[in-house]
Amino acid sequence: MAGAHKFDQVEYYKPEDLLALDYRPPETGWMDTPVDFRPGTWIYPGKPKHLEYLDLANPRQWAPTDENWKLPENWKEIVLAGIKERLEKYRSFKIFMDICVRCGACADKCHFYIGGGDPKNMPVLRAELLRSVYRNDFTTAGKILGRLAGGRELTVPVIKEWFYYFFQCTECRRCSVFCPYGIDTAEITMMARELLNLLGLNVNWVIEPVANCFKTGNHLGIQPHGLKDTLTFFADDIEEVTGIRVDIPMNKKGADFLFVTPSGDFLADPGTYTCMGYMMLFHELGLNYTWSTYASEGGNFGLFTSHEMIKRLNSKIYAEARRLGVKWIMGGECGHMWRVLHQYMDTMNGPADFLEVPTSPITGTRFEHARSTKMIHIVEFTADLIKHGKLKLDPSQNDLLKVTFHDSCNPARAMGILEEPRYVLRNVCNHFNEMPENTIREKTFCCGGGAGLGTDENMEMRLRGGLPRGNAVRHVQQRHGVNRLTAMCAIDRATLTTVCDYWAPGVKVAGIHELVANALVMKGQKERTINLRLEPINEVEEQPICEVEE
């Protein structure tokens, strides 16, 4: 490693170094192996101003490498009381603390363990970090037998270990698929992060977006006029490609539906192309919809903070739908956003009895499966349009793309939207190949940067966590010449770009609606020669656009 590069740059890491993996656990038992905060594997702490703004505990300047973390005086009481409270509030937590048999079925299922080999990244051991304290202070056997019963006293080094390893879990739920009792380490991580937050221990990559979202309505802190400018830029680009000027309805009262998408789609390529895709689709169909500046974030980094924070941020969506008087809500392509919208929103901020069951104004389909939340996924909407033959599509406009599809963790394992995206993709491109079976659908691998871990100072862990996905991409790249990885997730579009550049160079990342929009034949469009990336859509001369061999 080393050289002119720093630990937050990809170039700092040589694949052969990362691949010198050793899965043998260390000589010392896990309770006696202290955590090592080496650069590249942990994330900067939350800045005090954000904690203050959000009324979170113990705002202060600190660093994980400091000896003294400036914990509150009675930190131990706080944590033990916090555990007790959560055991009483969540059956999931209590059951998952009690019934693990340490069979190890989950052990080699975590991308961080596969790509890193650190035994504490085996989901079972990650959970044991907290479970050992639970046993020591909350079970009869643990109180009497202590360490013999797997109990361990809560100390400052234990808290440090929690901070390190519970911010090395992307809450992807892959382990939960394989556990004979469905023990979901993501749920345990959520509890542990709540406990850490009680002491003011969190990471800036999560807390800054949360603070931004609370104030401006989106993680990136884009202010209302800024959002308007952004969407106007997109309209300019669309006009350049298609010759059509799309309109941008914002904060419009009386629209049929409110559209909410992750703000990542506003800021960075390649998410921006997906966002253009939404705008083109809605324009072409002449839909009466609206964007909102107040509810300008579908994602919810509250999910990586606490249940309370999920609710605080999520409340805006229903509130805005009510204020604008829309009939229903549609959500864009995002992963963790859909965990919140599907599994938490209605319970937390519903009932949405002021809305109507979502109904497609084009096909008349009533989306009965969303009859309570009143919110549908755009890919469900588009799949329905295609099925009814309502879109004029020319898949050959994507002919330079050899496509594969990455199931994002939450849509796959907390919802099950597996066929809709595949159906859409097969209709908008001519070359589609699946990655190996054990790496897709409910067994899909995380991008390695979800749950607030996708920041550059965490680069080593991101590359390691991205290895299993990167491997599978490289497999189809070598076998089928795949050069485009599609995903319905804003975090994926950002983090998988890094992962592919590193583990499967030559493969670029795209959202589904980018491909939809490229294939979409719009009324009155000019002849399409370039795609939304302003690249030619047909081969120029003989040259292949992408090298398949390495």
């Binding site: 656990p25 469905g182 009932p351 499966h369 939340t373 907390a414």
Partner: protein
């Protein structure tokens, strides 16, 4: 180390039983007091644990979905791995409990040259766990012949089917062999795999040793020690009819078996063996993925501090107006 401590603990139980019944004559203690105490501990403990779990609410509906959701009519949903209604959930739970569905998914990670990691099927744990649980069930049911009069037909039938090899007198029971083999496997993999050894606690080895001890002494009793079955049955019937009596002629070796069983039963509610009850309450498995169809109610859904639209507009009104965005208050 953890394995060794557990072994010592199990041997200590056996030694106590031997001293108590083979050297001293405390058969009443080991043959009557201990079994009753164990059963009482089990019943009270088990019920307490279940009630304790049930007392905590399920605030959110968080199934882990392992197949296609129910959405558009023309897309076939996966009713068992991603159930959207109660029937589907019952099916999913039945598959979990009877066939260990999730373990069946198991894959084994293997490193190949260079950057390749592949995930092959890894069915050994599934096979071992199924073999253990089902042979344990068969042995359990066969034991009913000691505790009932007349003996239920299942127990008689199982006894016959189980001994179908017709090897030896009395015939060797296939379930005993399966049970011991499965336990040996579960134990061996814990020691063999460095990762499993690393995560295993004393409380992971202890039940395995107990079970091996129980099955081992059981087999020895059947084929070698040859205690008087009639006396054992008399004693068992005495226990279940609350007229306990220890007939003469019950070999001390039988008390090793009995004491180990009592230990297992009493230990059960305090241990990971409670997975047997807990799996039924696991919210990632026993809830339907109908989140968007039916609202799930959280009993403690507390109000939280939010940033209202009015506050937001106050913060940004001028900028909104300048950008031509509509506002509520001019």
């Amino acid at each position: 180390m953890n394995a060794f401590l557990s072994l010592v603990a199990v041997l200590a139980v056996m030694l106590a039983a031997y001293v108590g019944t083979g050297v001293l004559d405390a058969k009443f203690l080991f043959g009557t007091v201990l079994p009753y105490a164990a059963i009482a501990t089990f019943l009270i403990g088990f019920i307490y644990r279940i009630v304790d779990w049930a007392k905590s609410p399920v605030p959110f509906r968080i199934p882990t979905t392992c197949g296609q959701q129910k959405s558009l009519e023309w897309i076939k949903s996966d009713r068992l791995d991603n159930p959207h209604d109660t029937i589907g959930v019952i099916g999913r739970m039945a598959l979990e409990v009877l066939c260990f569905r999730s373990l069946f998914r198991d894959t084994k990670m293997e490193r190949h040259e260079e950057a390749t990691v592949v995930y092959g099927p890894g069915l050994w744990l599934w096979i071992g766990a199924l073999a253990f649980h089902y042979s344990f069930l068969v042995v359990f049911v066969r034991h009913l012949r000691f505790f009932t009069e007349p003996v239920p037909y299942v127990a008689v039938l199982l006894q016959r089917v189980d001994g179908f090899f017709q090897v030896g007198v009395p015939p060797v029971m296939a379930s005993n062999l399966f049970l011991l083999a499965a336990l040996a496997f579960l134990f061996a993999r814990r020691l063999w795999s460095p990762q499993l050894r690393y995560i295993s606690l004393a409380s992971d080895y202890f039940p395995l040793f107990l079970l091996i001890g129980i099955a081992g002494t059981g087999v020895l009793l059947r084929h070698f020690v040859r205690t008087d079955i009639v006396n054992v049955k008399e004693m068992a019937m005495g226990l279940v009819s609350f007229k306990p009596a220890i007939p003469k002629g019950v070999h001390w070796f039988f008390f090793l078996h009995l004491t180990l069983v009592a230990t297992l039963i009493a230990y059960f509610p305090f241990s990971k063996l409670m997975h047997a009850g807990g799996v039924f309450l696991s919210p990632t498995r026993n809830l339907a993925n109908n989140n968007r169809m039916v609202r799930h109610v959280n009993p403690w859904n507390a109000p939280v501090k939010v940033h209202t639209y009015e506050e937001y507009e106050d913060d940004f009104r001028d900028k909104m107006k300048a950008a031509g965005l509509p506002v509520e208050k001019e």
